[in-house]
Amino acid sequence: MKMKHWVLMLFVLGACTDKYVANIKGQATGFLVVEGFINITGTTSIQMSRSTGLDSPVLIPESGAQVEIQSTNGMSIPLSELTTGNYSDTGLNLDPTQQYRLHIKTNNGKDYLSDLSTVNVSPPIDSLSWTAASNGVTIYVTTHNPLVQPGYYQWSYDETWKYTSIYESTLKYVAGGLALRTDSELLYTCWRSDASTTINIASTEKLSSNVIYEYPVALVPYDNTDKLIDEYSILVKQTVLSQNWYEWVQKVQRNTEALGSIFDALPSETGGNIHNSADPTELVIGFIGTSTETEKRMFINRSQIPPTIVYSGYESCALDTIGLDPSSLATYFNAGTYIPNAYIYCMGFPCRVTFSVPECIDCRLKGGTLVKPDFWQ
């Protein structure tokens, strides 16, 4: 929040930002990157990749490694590579009194160990709440844990939102003519999901008890998004970190998100708690800790939001009409350039058809799916 304030202040004073591309010599590529945490009750999912250059970042998954969870009582649980670079095990139920670490053997034969970590237990999320301001909806998380103080929290979230295209097409072009769509063929309503891309952390270090009250976990803007045009759902996932884990995440946040103010903290090196067993100087990026995860879901309906102008993304859409003669229909619909929308009736009979471009009719073109998620109310 603080940084945004400074930036705003600057703009008022005539400040501006321009795109900048640095000419970096000798880019630092190929370092092992390990992300995830050991979840003792549920799914542990570890993503491994390699760092890349700065100019055109790409994700290079680290495939073919052997990854296992080790515990202080000698247990070891191998993780399997479900998708490329993603090593996981579902349905774990491990002893919370043990300490755990990750053992990695990459396919180039190098051996890595994370530092041992104790289990942090995430308390339930007490509530999710939200407020609407002129720029968007802010979502807050509230939790507490009377057993531990201080608490170091991290939240991530998955957003899912229902949206519609602007024209609800009832017609489809089939075999040179028009036919009514069945319910399953409708292109009007979609659901789309996204995962959080920012770091959300907070600690109760400065408080007298372990209470997080209305931490702003997400801001859903009105502008340039269709998230709030119908119904919106957010699943907030909470983990609890150890102090040094928290400090590492905070450092990553400072280095990568909280820059651009006039009082920037100077960036610092990002390492972690994973080390090459043979060469401790090798830089490995990532911090593997152990926690349980708790989560909570909340829905927000468009009708609950104050009637502010909400971006729809369909502002340039328009309908046109053509006659129903086969040649016209073929010209417009055969190649899929346009999609028929609905009949226009002349004296009780269809005489023309309205149509538009697919972007105004097929909601999937905005990235969503027609399949309603299981959790949807």
Partner: protein, 923 residues
């Protein structure tokens, strides 16, 4: 006759007091001259050059008279009889070869006989000369300049060939003292400068001299003196208001050649006001940035980096009060109201022994004392601030005050913010009060009070506030003509707080504060013409509150936390001697011995030697009681400078000095930020130590109107505080675990060409300089850049500045200011990785890259209203454009993860041309 009659009377009286009673003029003074339409000056000069006679006359009375005659080997009386035949002019020849020229009146020169009997009893009597205070016209000035001042009483018993003249240099119009005026004689070449109280002392051989007096912004003048013994003479200088055509010689034209102090830059408020700055209000810190060797990390910061030093290594003194945060609005404005500033001196190389406690420089800001003769005021309105100033005598010619305030109405700027910030506000103010009181001729009192405040609040979320408060009382006492002392006591305070009430559970207030009380005694002793000494002692008691964190409101769960208060005592004694070996070769050598005591009550973490200081390595916590000496650091600091004058306008200077610093800023931001904290040296944090060698050559050209100089320096700095990656500086109970000692080195060469006077004036400077740091201590816990030297945040090798001012006519002048610097070093990412659903940057070596170079040009016009002296209001306008070319000068470049992608940006503080307008009225 009026005034001139009064002047003449004075001259007669002086003539009476002069003692030698040679009855008759020298018969050998025969004169051979030929005049064709010669004015009186030519006649006088010619006769004076051929004889021992010296003329006294009022030039204005003779301006229409032309001489046409010639004589061959005739005595003076014959020549003057010829000259004044058939005119109403008369002459009289005194016993000391004085010639008085008058119109109509005839002067009786033989009065002295009656006074002579008193002579023996008044040997020790010092004649004091107070000049007539209301001299304004040219003729009166000419009269002052042509008058012969008898100083001291000739004493047969006193065998010393020299005598000392002391006195004050003051502004004739306001009675304010003038600091830094140079007082010198041409033959022999002897010169001194007035100190900050306007006081000067010059030792000359007995006999006749012409004293030249010059000061920035004032008309040059001279005084003819006949020196018989020690005495006082106060000199009033006339302001240079309308002196467009008459500027003949430069003020202080020789000080750069003759001064012994190296690397000192002095500017008066007139110069400061000429340089265009953003928003148009004269800003002394911004103007200092145009000088060679002075840099800053960017436009949002007024933190000065002097010759590679960090911003906390500057001692900023405002009439002897230490200003800890010299900026408003988070660094956009300096905290000094231009209406109360008289002059600014920046010592960046040789630092006088009376100053200490900071490694890089001393910025000595002298405030005005106020008009001692009449009430006047100033008001100014600009885009962001307005100011009001009022001054005048409390007791005419004795006591004066000046009171001034500034405030901002920047809230309209915030009104341009998006709606959700409509509850935001920002404000700042500063207030000054100075009182100057002359108790008697040997005692002066000066009171300085200053307070400033800043408050900044965005949408009732987080409020930032900070303020300075300073109070100082100074007593200047002359013990004898040769010895005077200054005794200063005062109290300085700086504090800031941050509070937030947006979230009731987390509502907090964080406060930091530092205050210091001090006592200084400074003595100035003119031992002999060859030695002038300075000595003294000072002591400062610090109380530092590193942080208190408290809840706000009943719902707040914030746990109150306080970092233990720190106390320390810093004391020093010093002695320095300015030794004039020959008029050409002057050495100033000083030693300052400083002692620093870190005092209880305090709990101090103990760490074993040779392990990194970390919370895990604490072996013991020692607790000390109140005022217990916990740790003492002490050591000598050497100050040495010398000057050798090859010719009248070419000299060389060299200096060496060492400094110790016991209080440090802890910051992990590039710019000095309002949330930086200060930290006192303690057993775990050793004082900073630095030394500097410098050498310079100074040459004046074109009759001293153009000054040129080249200075080179090399300095080292030890135990500068740097921070570890991810350091926590606020509310840290074991701060020593988050900082590391760094060593640094800096070197550079500075070129300056300056033209101080004339229609076109200004300066041009170029600097090549480097500053590098090194952290290679394996026990520090973290080695930066593999222990190699790396450039510091403000290492900007090439830098060039041009400041030009052109006076088109009396009422209109234009100024242009151009600056170029190499971009400052920055730590850029060298790679990227994917984490938490976003590409993120990977950093490695610190400060391995640079932001793009900086180039900016500003333009301003000063338009004065008419110059009628007696009107009630004088107004002026300043109109200009900051960053004329609208260049997007980078303040920083950074990469940030946004919506999963990695974007690089260049941030410019002023991304367009910023026009400004200011209206000032003087009443």
């Amino acid at each position: 006759m009026g005034y001139s009659g009064r002047c003449l009377l004075l001259v007669i009286l002086l003539g009476c007091l002069s003692t030698g009673l040679h009855a008759q003029k020298n018969a050998q003074n025969l004169i051979t001259v030929t005049f064709h339409d010669a004015p009186i000056q030519e006649l006088v000069e010619e006769i004076e050059s051929q004889t021992d006679y010296f003329f006294y006359y009022d030039i204005s009375l003779f301006d229409s008279l032309k001489f046409n005659f010639s004589v061959n080997r005739e005595p003076l009386s014959t020549v003057l009889d010829r000259a004044f035949a058939s005119t109403s002019f008369n002459y009289a020849i005194g016993p000391h070869d004085e010639v008085f020229l008058t119109k109509e009146a005839l002067i009786q020169t033989n009065l002295t006989a009656t006074l002579d009997s008193l002579k023996g009893k008044h040997r020790a009597y010092h004649v004091e000369i107070e000049e007539d205070q209301n001299q304004n016209t040219k003729t009166q000035i000419a009269a002052l300049e042509n008058k012969l001042y008898q100083i001291g009483v000739n004493s047969a018993n006193n065998g010393s060939p020299n005598a000392l003249i002391t006195g004050y240099v003051r502004d004739a119009k306001t009675g304010e003292s003038i600091a830094g005026a140079s007082i010198y004689t041409d033959k022999p070449r002897v010169g001194v400068a007035s100190d900050q109280y306007g006081y000067y002392a010059i030792s000359l051989t007995k006999g006749r001299h012409i004293l030249n007096i010059q000061s920035i912004g004032m008309k040059d003048t001279r005084r003819q003196i006949l020196l018989s013994g020690d005495g006082k003479m106060n000199i009033d200088l006339q302001g240079q208001v309308m002196m467009l055509k008459n500027v003949i010689v430069s003020a202080e034209k020789l000080s750069n050649i003759r001064g012994v102090t190296m690397g000192v830059q002095k500017m008066d408020i007139k110069t400061l006001k000429q340089v265009p700055v953003v928003f148009g209000e004269a800003d002394l810190l911004r103007v200092l940035l145009t000088l060679p060797g002075v840099k800053s990390v960017g436009e949002a910061s007024t933190g000065l980096n002097v010759r590679g030093g960090s911003a906390d290594q500057n001692l900023i003194l405002f009439n002897d009060a230490t200003i800890y945060n010299p900026s408003h609005f988070f660094g956009f404005f300096s905290a000094f109201n231009p209406d109360v500033v008289k002059s600014v001196e920046l010592y960046k190389s040789s630092i006088p022994a009376r100053y200490g406690g900071r490694l890089s420089s001393v910025l000595d800001i002298t405030a005005r004392e106020g008009n001692k003769k009449e009430f006047e005021g100033n008001a100014g309105i600009g885009l962001v601030t307005s100011r009001l100033e009022f001054e005048g005598p409390i007791v005419k010619d004795k006591t004066s005050f000046i009171i001034a305030g500034r405030t901002t109405y920047a809230n309209w700027l915030l009104g341009l913010l998006p709606e959700q910030y409509k509850n935001s506000n920002a404000s700042f103010y500063d207030l000054n009060l100075n009182v100057s009181h002359q108790i008697d001729k040997n005692n002066n009192l000066y009171l300085t009070a200053y307070t400033s405040g800043d408050k900044f609040n965005l949408n009732s979320d987080t409020t930032y506030g900070y303020g300075n408060m300073n109070l100082s009382l100074k007593w200047k006492h002359s013990f004898t003509d040769k010895l005077y002392g200054v005794f200063i006591t005062g109290y300085d305070k700086y504090n800031y707080d941050i509070s937030s009430t947006a979230n009731p559970v987390n509502a907090f207030k964080l406060a930091f504060g530092i205050n210091q009380s001090y006592l200084k005694a400074q003595f100035y002793y003119f031992l002999s013409p060859k030695h002038s000494l300075e000595f003294g002692l000072n002591s400062m008691y610090y109380v530092l509150q590193p942080g208190t964190y408290t809840p706000i409101g009943k719902e707040s769960l914030v746990a109150a936390d306080t970092v233990e208060k720190e106390q320390a005592l810093e004391s020093a004694v010093y002695l320095s001697d300015k030794f004039t070996i020959t008029p050409q070769f002057v050495v100033e050598a000083g030693i300052r011995f400083s002692v620093y005591n870190y005092l209880g009550p305090q709990s101090v973490n103990q760490y074993p030697p040779d392990v990194p200081k970390s919370p895990d390595n604490v072996v013991d916590v020692k607790t000390y009681g109140a005022n217990q000496f916990i740790k003492t650091y002490s050591g000598p600091e050497y100050r040495l400078s010398l000057r050798y004058e090859f010719t009248d306008n070419f000299s060389m200077k060299a200096s060496y000095n060492t400094e110790r610093q016991y209080i440090h800023v802890l910051s992990n931001t590039t710019a000095i930020s309002p949330t930086d904290i200060w930290k006192l040296s303690d057993p775990n944090i050793v004082p900073e130590w630095g030394n500097q060698y410098s050498l310079g050559f100074y040459k004046n050209l074109k009759n001293n109107t153009i000054e040129t100089s080249v200075e080179v320096y090399y300095k080292t700095m030890e135990h500068i505080l740097d921070y570890k990656s991810g350091a926590v500086l606020l509310m840290n109970h074991h701060i020593e675990t988050d900082v590391i000692n760094t060593n640094g080195r800096a070197y550079g060469i500075e070129f300056l060409i300056k033209k101080a006077t004339g229609k076109l004036n200004g300066w041009l400077s170029y600097t090549y300089s480097r500053v590098e740091l090194k952290q290679a201590d394996p026990y520090a816990g973290e080695i930066i850049n593999n222990g190699n030297y790396y450039p510091s945040n403000y290492d900007q090798p090439n830098s060039a500045t041009m400041v030009a001012n052109y006076r088109v006519n009396h009422r209109f002048s234009i100024s242009l200011n151009s600056t170029y610097t190499t971009g400052r070093p920055i730590t850029l990412p060298t790679g990227s990785y994917f984490y938490y659903n976003s590409f993120r940057t990977l950093y490695s070596d610190r400060n391995a890259y640079r932001i793009p170079d900086y180039y900016r040009t500003d333009f301003s016009m000063n338009i004065d209203g008419n110059h009628k002296v007696h009107q009630k209001f004088h107004n002026s306008w300043t109109i200009g454009v900051y960053n004329v070319f609208g260049r997007h000068n980078p303040y920083s470049v950074y990469y940030v993860s946004q919506n999963g992608a990695l974007n690089g940006y260049q941030l410019s503080i002023f991304g367009s041309a910023i026009p400004f307008i200011n209206f000032n009225v003087r009443f």
